[in-house]
Subunit: 199 residues, 2 copies
């Protein structure tokens, strides 16, 4: 009863190249630049070959999402595991990996397969961050203000960085400098100056 169409193996070199190209296209030109023909052209193969490895375009996007998000989850946990957990949290979302998330959020508007996968990942992601953050806040002996929990801190930091980047990309900057200064002042008060990571 399964479809007669064939599919390429998971560890093909061509398959990996197609994933790389798709990811690069999303970062450089946005997800809208990704299409069967375009990816094929960049890889110097025939369009049909793309659909040999990924039966639909959604499958291609999902494969990129799964690969990169897996890596990001590890990386972020590592960065967040710092003796200055607040500074780590604040710097977390400035990494280039974050730009890809932004593209997927946009994609999720149009493609519900992406939406479902991304939502599931976002929850796992936040949960993992929360555990690391909570542990390191305790270890650092940091006293949060009344009512402020690690989860609140996480949502606030995520929201702020995401919107600042979004607005920056659009060319909107009103209030940004003051906000960054305010955050830096808070970091100073709670954690003192930035220290080089221990090793």
């Amino acid at each position: 009863m399964t479809s007669p169409r064939r599919t390429g193996s998971e560890n093909s070199k061509t398959r990996l190249r197609l994933l790389d190209i798709t990811e690069r296209l999303m970062l450089d030109e946005g997800y809208a630049a990704v299409g069967v023909r375009r990816v094929a052209r960049e890889a110097d193969v025939a369009p049909a070959l793309v659909l040999y490895y990924f039966r639909t375009l959604d499958d291609l996007f999902l494969a990129v999402l799964r690969r990169r998000m897996g890596e990001e989850l590890e990386r972020q946990a590592r960065v967040l595991d710092s003796p200055q957990p607040l500074r780590a949290l604040w710097q977390l979302t400035n990494h280039p990996g974050h730009a890809l998330s932004t593209e997927f959020i946009g994609l999720a508007n149009h493609r519900k397969a992406i939406r479902a996968e991304l939502a599931a990942h976002a929850e796992r992601y936040r949960e993992a961050q929360l555990q690391t953050l909570t542990r390191n806040l305790t270890e650092a002996g940091l006293q949060l203000p009344l009512g402020m929990t690690p989860a609140v801190l996480l949502v606030l930091s995520t929201a702020l960085t995401r919107v600042l980047v979004l607005e920056d990309d659009m060319g909107v900057s009103a209030g940004h400098a003051e906000t960054l200064a305010f955050v830096e002042q808070l970091l100073q008060r709670y954690e003192g100056p930035a220290r080089a990571p221990e090793r």
Copy 2:
């Protein structure tokens, strides 16, 4: 040297209907649902008529943007002009008008004409909010924490509400309840319980 193509008048009833339909489509199904044929079908006219009133699809989107954003600017200034400026600010971005902004932010990813117009509007918008907010904070005699300026408050509130709504729509809710409780607690501390608007 100008194009020979004709264009409908600004106050045509049909033109207004097309704007209404486009706006409704954006809210109900997202901007991707808007196209020449779809809008025409909903209006029960021929596709060519849509392009008679709006020479390109960008023009259609821009017309919706200008109309609605003008109204929003007034409305928001009015709501923000409250004896409880912090509560007003917090409730500001929960209105349905906000959903349309979200769609335009998405559109701005693909269409640079929209991007430019939206960015310009966003700056004006924030500037206007900032003036009203600053004045009402002073009048209410509110003392902000060290380093926290009205502009910072505005950016923070905007960022938080925008991301909460975005995540909600996606089905991500981790940390939301705690964050809302934290904000409500802050509002209580600085402005006491919500009062009915004076009249």
